[in-house]
């Protein structure tokens, strides 16, 4: 007699097996290395604090991009537009109007969210390359406004003497304190990203990334969810832009140019697209790589490029995805 309903592929169980343990060890090693780096930066101070500060800001920016690209499967080349809005709003309101850092930051984020809502509503009807082109245009338009509207933005000269992070009229006293504040902000952003990813919203976004038609057939409002993801990405980008302005104390159109988008994409793919930790890993690696290869002198760029290519060949879904990949490599097989 034939056995009923026999299918072909092996089952996989996910209790703690050797692969799990190696994956967990890799994860723990990553966290320990990151923690050691931060502790060293706090002890040593100096340039490493600045590098880690930039990495934290970019990690927030890329976390937003990850919402739209990693979780929802859409493409945006225009996130620099929202970072510029956050950065310039903070810069103008604090330097010209004497606003506090937090109100200025909040208004910048709100303005970016509103723009994302207005722009996203018609734009997100587009798909693939068309959406990419439309968002690229958005980034270029906002950058051009930053150049041309020099009565407010100071054009190419940029805005300097932006107050450092702080509250109630007091600036944080040192770079170390600023780095601590940035790390708290990053932790908060990653926690929110993790909660959202594992929520109903996150599952709906993942379904849209898988197949828009299948998602629609399950009753998911695809247009609405894409818009929500776009707005969240804009909020993260604006927040990062504003943090940048206060951390560096200066903004100009070049800061929020196309290279910011390219850097964000690189960080996302190197770190691990679609993972919560990926943006942080990518931002850290990409921020540190040029410093690591400084000893190569004139071959520094070559070594940097080669390292990126190797990472993308051996970890095509990014470094953070290696842990999951390792766990799935040697699954326990169910008895047939």
């Amino acid at each position: 007699m034939r056995s009923p309903r026999r299918m072909t592929s092996p089952a996989t169980t996910f209790h703690m097996n050797p692969s799990d343990r190696i994956g967990t060890a890799l994860k723990s090693a990553g966290w320990l290395a990151g923690a050691a780096l931060v502790i060293y930066a706090f002890i040593d101070g100096g340039y490493l604090v600045t590098v880690l500060g930039f990495a934290a800001i970019y990690a927030i920016f890329v976390s937003g991009l990850n919402f739209f690209m990693g979780y929802t499967g859409q493409v945006s080349f225009g996130q620099n537009a929202f970072a510029a809005i956050g950065g310039y709003t903070s810069a103008v309101l604090t330097t010209a109007f004497g606003w506090g850092v937090f109100p200025a930051m909040a208004l910048g984020v709100a303005a970016a969210a509103l723009l994302a809502l207005l722009v996203g509503f018609p734009t997100l009807r587009l798909r693939g390359h068309y959406l990419a082109m439309a968002t690229l245009a958005l980034g270029m338009i906002v950058q051009e406004i930053a150049v041309q509207w020099d009565s407010v933005t100071m054009g190419y000269t940029g805005i300097a003497a932006i107050p450092a992070l702080g509250a109630f009229g007091h600036e944080l006293p040192s770079d170390r304190w600023q780095l601590a504040a940035l790390l708290v902000a990053l932790a908060l952003c990653l926690w929110v990203a993790s909660r959202l990813k594992h929520s109903r919203l996150g599952q709906a976004l993942a379904a849209i990334a898988g197949s828009e038609d299948a998602a629609r057939a399950l009753g998911i409002d695809v247009a609405r969810h894409k818009l929500i993801a776009f707005v969240i990405a804009a909020i993260y980008a604006a927040f990062a832009g504003s943090l940048f302005a206060h951390f560096v104390g200066f903004v100009s159109p070049e800061v929020f140019g196309l290279h910011m988008v390219v850097l964000g994409f690189t960080m996302l793919y190197v770190g691990g697209i679609g993972t919560v930790a990926g943006p942080m890993v990518g931002a850290l690696i990409i921020s540190l790589l040029p410093e690591t290869f400084r000893g190569f002198k004139e071959f520094q760029d070559l070594a940097y490029g080669a390292a990126l290519i190797l990472i993308l060949i051996y970890a095509p879904r990014g470094l953070a995805s290696l842990i999951r990949r390792w766990r799935l490599r040697r699954p326990d097989r169910e008895t047939p």
Binding site: M7, S9, Q203, A217, I220, D221, E334
Partner: protein, 248 residues
């Protein structure tokens, strides 16, 4: 046209003059069909006959016009979410399972319109596991790592999580070995015996006709005949129907 052998009852689905187009191309010419309560009806036809477009237009995934009544009232047009809420659920062509997600996450998404902590959610999950016990064992496995047959089972299970009162399936046996395709067809027969009406689009006519009470034959975007399985028992009969209606 052969009269339906179905027992007289109020139709659960009545379609009148449903048409759909992709841009300027009329992919589905106005079609009429009906489905009785607890009936399994097949829609057969070659590639490009308009079978998938018919299901997509019913679901509102492809803009269409015409009148569709489900359980006595109009089904919203061009609004898939509202259609799913009414209990019309589609298992799409190519399964549409979400590969990077686990089996359980896929099933959870099937009940997207339902509150996750409700008793109904657990009851639906248990019904799915009772019907497709393999899925219970595979809960933590990534959907993309399942075999083709298991993915199709998952697609059906996910649709069952939506609590369907009418199940639409678009070529569920596509790309499957005959033995696996037969298992899928057997599952659909079980569901139908439990009282669920099913509209099954298939290219493998003999397989579908084993479980269907009636079949609509489609060609070039229109329904060319309504038949019983007995009337197209051999491939020759099927060909005769197509050729005799070629110019319709």
């Amino acid at each position: 046209m052969t009269p339906s052998p179905a027992q007289p009852s109020a139709p659960v689905l009545t379609v009148r003059g449903l048409s759909a187009r992709y841009g300027n191309v009329l992919a589905l010419r106005p079609v009429d069909l009906h489905l009785e309560r607890s009936e399994l009806v097949a829609v057969l036809g070659p590639n490009g006959a308009g079978k998938s477009t018919l299901l997509r237009a019913l679901m509102g995934l492809t803009p269409g016009s015409g009148r569709v009544e489900f359980e006595g009232s109009s089904l919203p047009r061009n609004d898939p979410r509202a259609v799913t809420q009414r209990g019309v659920v589609l298992v799409p062509e190519g399964r549409g399972v979400f590969g990077p997600m686990t089996v359980r996450e896929n099933l959870d998404l099937g009940a997207y319109l339902l509150k996750r902590n409700s008793g109904e959610f657990s009851a639906r999950l248990e019904r799915v596991f009772a019907l497709l016990p393999r899925l219970r064992d595979r809960q933590t496995q990534l959907a993309g790592s399942l075999s083709g047959g298991e993915q199709q089972m998952l697609a059906i299970g996910r649709a069952m999580m939506a609590g369907p009162r009418l199940l639409l399936l678009d070529e569920p046996s596509l790309g499957l070995a005959p033995r696996l395709a037969a298992e899928i067809i057997g599952t659909l027969a079980t569901l139908n015996q439990q009282g669920l009406p099913v509209l099954l689009v298939e290219q493998r006519a003999p397989m579908a006709l084993k479980i269907a009470r009636r079949a609509y034959l489609m060609a070039v975007g229109r329904i060319v005949a309504e038949v019983t399985p007995d009337e197209i028992a051999s491939p020759h009969d099927l060909a005769r129907y197509y050729f005799s209606h070629e110019s319709v």
